[in-house]
Subunit: 169 residues, 8 copies
């Protein structure tokens, strides 16, 4: 059976952004659990969730947090499952703080970091990881890529059409 994905966020206020990750996993038929766990306010909760994650059938952790974003790093220190960090922009520093606090991990404890507010990409990366040993999932990813490419080409036609109409380019 395919491993599941555990989506953690540091605060309820991160739900809107992180729900994009859940939505993408659902689209690919990857089971997940999405919940709140704060590295600072509920360290025991993080420890419990992460400590048994591999045994609980999870294959990848996605952790989204803002400001001095420690959640992904703390998870990474509690498991050898791949941990994907999503730096969130909810501060005056628009996520630069969260990006550096997530990506600049010391040797030995990696966090797979995606862009600021990149919850959707985090989920795609999780699917890519699960697809390493899962040809069916890999095929779905390739299909998705093809759909994306087609959509770009449709956009291209529309932009070209508008450009010709308006400006006679």
């Amino acid at each position: 059976m395919r491993e599941r994905v555990l989506i953690l966020m540091g605060s309820e206020s991160d739900e809107t952004v992180m729900a994009e990750a859940a939505k993408l996993l659902a689209k690919f038929g990857v089971a997940y659990r999405m919940t709140v766990a704060s590295a600072h306010r509920t360290p025991d909760r993080v420890e419990e969730l992460i400590g048994s994650a591999r045994a609980d059938g999870y294959g990848v952790i996605i952790a989204g947090a803002g400001m001095a974003a420690h959640l992904a790093g703390v998870c990474a220190g509690r498991t050898t499952l791949p941990v994907i960090g999503v730096p969130l922009s909810g501060s005056k520093l628009v996520g630069v703080d969260a990006l550096l606090a997530t990506v600049q991990m010391p040797p030995g404890i990696p966090v797979a970091t995606v862009g600021i507010d990149g919850a959707k990409n985090a989920a795609l990366l999780a699917v890519q990881i699960l697809a390493v040993g899962d040809p069916e999932l890999a095929r779905l990813l390739d299909d998705d890529r093809a759909v994306m490419a087609k959509r770009v080409e449709e956009m291209a036609q529309q932009v070209e059409a508008r450009s010709e109409r308006t400006l006679g380019g």
Copy 2:
């Protein structure tokens, strides 16, 4: 057979840093190929290497590049295998340019970014990804973690001893 890792770097000058990735993979008994391929100077080479990577038995790509580091992103656009990006510090901007050019990927094409010059962590992350479906490799990772923890405790004793000797703390 266990999937292999393809390590790419944008320039020969990145070899010293990227060799740490190779070294770590070797330690975990993970097969790899390490070579040079520039997204800008040899786009066809990148396309060939990446286009057939999954069929060639690779499970993860590691791409290290500096400055306007496009290599990881270009790889990610050519495969749905997980691509790990290593931003390299070889510029006046000490890797800030490479970090942003690697991590800030648009929706749909994730790059799993590690810290600046984080080649070793990139390799560890690759092992973690391959270990998702490989309990033996997962066990090796847990062992490695235990060794790390033990080393910290040894360091702790030494630091405490020195501190007491020198300062009578």
Copy 3:
């Protein structure tokens, strides 16, 4: 016959900004094609458009992209035509990411970078490039400069008038 300009953008969402480039080229009577091509989602499309660009009669490429903006660099790796990069601000980092990902190209593959969201300047630069061997176009540029200067002087008179009226300066 005068060379044309190929305007690429990474996403339909860049159209509003990039249309300023089209508008300026139209004003100078420089033919162009404006379309969408993503370095990551449609690498083949970029390759095709750029690979034959010189043969297709294009003299300059303008590429606008945001975030980890690879489009201009990828184009520059596929042609020896001058490539002008427009870093776009559509991210939490307001274009700093796109600026560094566009301008910090490695030796051998230059991108002529303009300011963040500087689509109009990109087009002006394209006209300047085409004008190197085209005295008539050069004359149009000089005329445009004179108009600009005159407009500044008009603005100056208005500001001085307002300043005297309000403050008795």
Copy 4:
């Protein structure tokens, strides 16, 4: 008995900088323990040391770490003792990463952050905290301040003398 200070550092390589904190505490006669504990490699060790810190007689925690510096924040999540964070410069980003990862804590879990590599100031702050309820220690701090002021005045005289000699200012 006066509360003691617990000095933690994330890695043995931080010892040189953090030893300045120990030295200052020793000068003020404040008892301390200095040891290594990594938030990522030894989370249990951090939890044990911090969990019982107040009961063990510690009044202040000083935590020094570099890169995505989580140590101070993780300590702060495990105790309500004041935690002083020292962002360390040991990365390509010269401590900007550690500074943001230390100071930008979410509401509810403060870290008292000092400047990059500011181990000495961290120790002074610890003494100031312990001196809130300790008039004798407060007096020592005031004496130290007077010594500092006097040293500045001596430096001033030397600089003035040199300035007059060399330049006839």
Copy 5:
């Protein structure tokens, strides 16, 4: 009797943010005085307020200021009481200027810096400092922590419920 907290802000416009500090102190039953004093426009006022602060029964100073935020540092130069600096975001640089101007103090004069606009955390830190010698206050802090943890768990349940309902995760 418990020491009080002196809350200073550089300008009336900082009142909304700094009032969060007052509110938190009131919640913990810690007496305080909140007032305005500008390091640049009223240096004498700052000097008077701070010079007698310890004698007046204050145990901690909280100083909030924006831009080239000198208030906390100037206070720290006039007392050996712990000074907590709150960098405020009221400028085009969203508090980066205030953060660096507050935290990067020279050796000898520490400022305990919290995050940008972190007035609430400044007050919590002040309570933690006063609680070092005050077991009752320490107990209140622990209670508060437990309440926070409980609230996170409630949020977690809500997020999980919503996630299951909406997406069938």
Copy 6:
């Protein structure tokens, strides 16, 4: 007779901010001329205005510009009158570009730089400069400082009153 101040701005769009400078000069009875002159679009105009500035009775130049703000530097290269630069925030980089382009002048050609959008402070600085040899103007500055201090004290009373009413601090 007292020297006048020449206020230049690079574009009409800077008028709102720069008018604060004019307003302050008017308050101090310092004569000025405020006009538009672009270092890039009207270099000759800048040259003419600045070249004869000292002869025309100006004592100080104030130059406000945004983005790659060259106006102040270009003025400083054309006169030995003191030139005050006001970096303006009208770009995606909120004035960081203008600040660095204004303040980081090479040895030999100083620009007296004030904060981002600091037109009012630029004018105050101009008054301070003119007051060096003008005791009456110096007295007006001291009076203004006293008024400022008084206003802070009034604000302080209001904030204290509100604080006591609301929170019983």
Copy 7:
């Protein structure tokens, strides 16, 4: 006859970096003149050199400057020839100041900016611009690209060989 390139630098200290531009132009057989002209210390000299540049047979200007780098922008304000700006790193800010002061030009006056210290790329870009109407020069550029690609492939073989020898990858 092929247009020439005018290489300007703001100071003699920029010669080492800018000489790479001259070297590359020489390699492509493109005539050039390389000299010093400071936007601030010798504005008249810049004006004279640039004012007649098109008439003097120049097709492209390359301007290298550090700190608040105004040289390229000032040139761009004096000609409608394409101006390539090279931000130089000779300051404590390692070229960030020069980059922003060069690239963030206002609408109407573009500067084609290359990376920090990117003198070689500036020259390549100049050759690309001259090659727009010069098929022979375009062919030389394509040849150069092929040589680059070949060199990458040779490096690749060496790196692979070393990797196999050392690590048994």
Copy 8:
């Protein structure tokens, strides 16, 4: 009699950089006093020096400081003489902290900021300020400018000669 310049530095370690200011003033025959005074360690000393500065015959203050550089701002709060701030680079942040802490002053209290480590420019600016009412000093400044221009032209000839010799440009 010509007003004198008071040069302050926050620490003896700033002497090497600040001595350039003294040297330039000596060259222009402007009397000065250079001494050490720390805004944090010797606030009373700063207050005394600055409080009587105008009465003591000083016309301009130059204040150099690093890190959270408060010295210039604190001086500016104690006098209405023009205060020139020199941000010094002696920290891990190479003067970015000092620059922001010096230039971003709140409305009402300007600091005339020069570039990082720009002590020489600070002194030149001081001379320019004193020259506003001193035609002789203004003439010396113009002479100095002419010498600078001449030196640039000599450098230009040397660079051109070398360029021709080496590369046949």
